[in-house]
């Protein structure tokens, strides 16, 4: 009795369990390892090479990222003399943690969520907008010209893609007439998946997610031959490892939101019933949601094998000139959808 039991109790307390173990930190971390491994393996396959293989050859190099992180942990963290220390330190850590934070509002099944709330879509969407600010802060605090240019690029792109993502979310919310993920998914179970209800909003949000998480062809903020590593140029050791992880975490979280809004969430889960609450209400729906999000993430990382990168002005022109208009158009589509299905919902 005592400390250990108290700790276990604390971990098993639903909000903590949700945020730390499933689907929070540890679960996301494991998925991240699988995702990055798969990305590198697929890219290697296309590019006439093996991909990671040296560490754990029997698992086809799956533990490469763990080895990399261990190496990062033992590396010296070099702080530039002229850096603004507090924001320099806090920015990547806070960006990583806050990047994961929208999970507090994302339910994995109708009965499995950390905090019951009626406006979960609004909260999740609002929380996804915080990490870019910290990326800009990291660039500014590093006091390096390449970092500043990278931060400036991030700030331009943030404005462009966030408008697209938020309007897409707003338009599908308009069709569902609810700000609750659970109700939105239940509605999709009744009618049909959101991607069929409003394909234009889905497409605009997908492109917005790719821009937000600097996937190719929008990998502009960290464009290597121009600005070295963008806002993260001056980071080393585990801080650099965190910086690398931010965009993956954000992509996974965005894809969870996309899955719940457009891909029917845990939709076919209702067909399975074993009688066990844990299996029926947590494991099966959770696995379905996670699988959908992972497949979507894989499609996004796959783009790096096909595309180069856009110039910042081309990406901004595409963001404001085309996808913003498309997102506005999706509002009209949603109004039309609402007019047709309104009597049912």
């Amino acid at each position: 009795m005592g400390v250990i039991a108290t700790l276990i109790d604390l971990l098993m307390w639903p909000p903590v369990f949700y945020l730390v173990i499933f689907p929070g930190f540890i679960f996301t971390f494991v998925l991240l390892i699988i995702l990055i491994w798969a990305e590198r393996k697929v890219a290697g396959r296309i590019q006439m090479r093996y991909g990671p293989l040296e560490i754990s050859p029997r698992l086809a190099g799956a533990l490469q990222l763990v080895a990399d992180l261990l190496r990062y942990l033992t590396q010296e963290i070099i702080i530039p003399r002229r850096a603004d220390r507090f924001p320099y330190f806090i920015a990547p850590i806070a960006a990583f943690v806050l990047g994961m934070l929208p999970i507090v509002a994302i339910p994995f099944s109708p009965h499995y969520y950390p905090i019951p709330m009626n406006d979960s879509i609004l909260i999740a969407a609002a929380l996804t907008t915080i990490p870019p600010l910290l990326t800009i802060l990291a660039g500014w605090a590093s006091n390096n010209k390449f970092s500043v240019i990278g931060g400036a690029r991030e700030s331009y792109l943030t404005a462009a893609y966030e408008a697209v993502i938020l309007i897409s979310i707003a338009s599908i919310v308009l069709a569902y007439s609810t700000l609750d993920f659970t109700k939105a998914v239940m509605l999709q179970e009744q009618i049909t998946w959101g991607i069929l209800l409003n394909p234009i909003a889905a497409l605009a949000m997908l492109v917005g997610i790719m821009m937000a998480t600097s996937r190719f062809p929008f990998e502009i903020v960290e464009a290597e031959p121009e600005v070295v590593m963008g806002p993260y140029t001056e980071y080393s050791g585990i801080m650099y490892g965190l910086c690398m992880g931010i965009s993956y975490v954000r992509m996974f979280v965005y894809n969870l939101i996309f899955t719940l809004l457009f891909l029917g969430g845990w939709h076919p889960a209702g067909l399975i019933s074993t009688g066990s609450f844990v299996v029926d209400s947590i494991l099966v729906p959770g696995a379905i949601v996670a699988t959908k999000a992972i497949v979507l993430s894989l499609v996004m990382v796959f783009a790096r094998s096909v595309y180069g990168r856009y110039r910042i002005d081309q990406a901004l022109a595409a963001g404001w000139g085309f996808w913003f208009v498309i997102a506005l158009l999706s509002l009209v589509v949603s109004i039309g959808v609402k007019a047709i299905i309104g009597w049912r919902a």
Binding site: A43, P217, P225, E226, V306, Y307, G308, R311
Partner: protein, 399 residues
């Protein structure tokens, strides 16, 4: 310590201009530094700062025997070793007043063109990764291996062949080389179509290179640009045609010329050159006459064992007299068309075993000026696109 005032130079930077030092430790700079001045996102001035990989090659050449300058000069552009050193031997042969036998000429041309293809593929790979296209990077570098291995079949070395001799070559064409080449040629022709699908006609790549870094014909002539960069701007200048050497006068090939002068034209020009090079090698393998691979002046010095090696294995041993080569006093020059443009060699002999003076003008050295004149007015993100399309190689410029 006080520094005398005249040793310090200050430079006034215009207001609202950001000075960015790209390199020498930067993933997009190569072995050199660029001082880029940015007004917002637009480059207003670019200063290429060369000399980071200067190895005093010309001076070193004065301190070693004539033949030993070959492995030295190869290191200017190790990826294009045959074309880089052929000019040296052309000049040396002028000093010695000899000409290689026809078969040796054909073998030289074949190796030069293999080297050119490999070098172009290397340049494409760099352009690919500069534009963020990792698949193109890996594909181009992977397929370059085909031609490196082809050169290895011929010379026994992957990159630094040291294959030429004054008045000949080191090895005869190995048996089955024709089939090997045909296989490689068919493979790369198939791959060029695949490159088109994923790289050249990729919309994202297309918008990055089309109309970017435009070099007009007038400007190309005025700046003395050479090689594919000049030919992509409408200047039909190719040493293989203007001052033909080795087997080129007997072979039928075209010099691809583009008018646009942008990054895309520079890239496509090189793609066409690969096709022409394949044509040249095919013809050369077909039209190659039989005969010795080394000049009879040196053949006469061969011992019985050396002759046996030459006849049974097709390997030309170096006679002792060639190591202590003493060309008559005088001077000679030669020009050769390498993958990046014209190489100029100027050699002075005082009758000794070592060159009195060896002067090299390399194509990258002449093209480096383009950074200064081509970049301003474009965005910072265009810097790698233009750099990659110029196929600039710092060690070649610095020598």
């Amino acid at each position: 310590m006080t520094i005398p005032a005249q040793a310090i130079t200050t430079r006034r930077i215009a207001k609202d201009v950001l000075e960015l030092h790209v390199g020498p430790q930067h993933p997009g700079s190569g072995h050199m530094r660029f001082v880029i001045r940015l007004d917002g996102d637009i480059m207003v001035e670019v200063d290429p700062d060369i000399g980071f990989v200067h190895r005093t090659m010309e001076k070193l050449a004065e301190n070693r025997e004539w033949l030993k300058a070959q492995p030295l000069f190869e290191r200017m552009a190790i990826l294009d070793a045959a074309n880089v050193t052929i000019g040296y031997f052309l000049a040396l042969e002028k000093l010695l007043d000899i000409e290689p036998p026809p078969r040796a000429k054909y073998i030289r041309t074949i190796l030069c063109e293999i080297s050119r293809i490999a070098s172009h593929l290397y340049g494409f790979g760099i352009l690919g990764i500069f534009l963020g296209h990792s698949t193109a990077y890996m594909w181009f570098f992977g397929d370059r291996e085909v031609f490196i291995e082809l050169a290895e079949r011929l010379t026994g070395q992957r990159l630094t062949y040291s294959f030429f001799l004054p008045g000949g070559v080191r090895r005869d064409i190995p048996t089955g080389f024709k089939d090997d080449f045909e296989k490689a040629a068919r493979y790369i022709e198939k791959r060029l179509k695949e490159y088109e699908a994923i790289f050249m006609n990729n919309p994202v790549i297309r918008v990055r290179v089309e109309g970017v870094g435009v070099l007009t014909k007038d400007m190309a002539v005025r700046l003395g640009v050479v090689g594919p960069n000049a030919r992509a701007s409408g200047v039909k200048h190719d040493i293989r045609v203007e001052e033909p050497y080795d087997a080129y006068p007997e072979l039928d090939f075209e010099v691809p010329v583009y008018k646009e002068g942008d990054a895309l034209a520079r890239f496509l020009q090189r793609v066409d050159e690969i096709r022409e090079s394949l044509k040249i090698i095919r013809q050369a393998l077909k039209a190659m006459p039989n005969g010795p691979i080394i000049h009879e002046r040196y053949l006469r010095m061969y011992t019985k064992v050396m002759k046996e090696v030459l006849e049974t294995q097709g390997r030309a041993k170096i006679p002792a007299a060639m190591i202590n080569l003493r060309p008559p006093a005088g001077e000679a020059y030669a020009r050769a068309e390498a993958a990046r443009g014209e190489y100029f060699y100027y050699l002075v002999s005082n009758g000794g075993t070592k060159p009195y003076r060896a002067r090299v003008v390399s194509p990258s050295f002449r093209n480096v000026l383009l950074f200064k004149y081509l970049m301003p007015g474009y965005r910072l993100a265009d810097f790698p696109a233009i750099y990659g399309s110029l196929d600039y190689f710092p060690p070649e410029a610095d020598r």
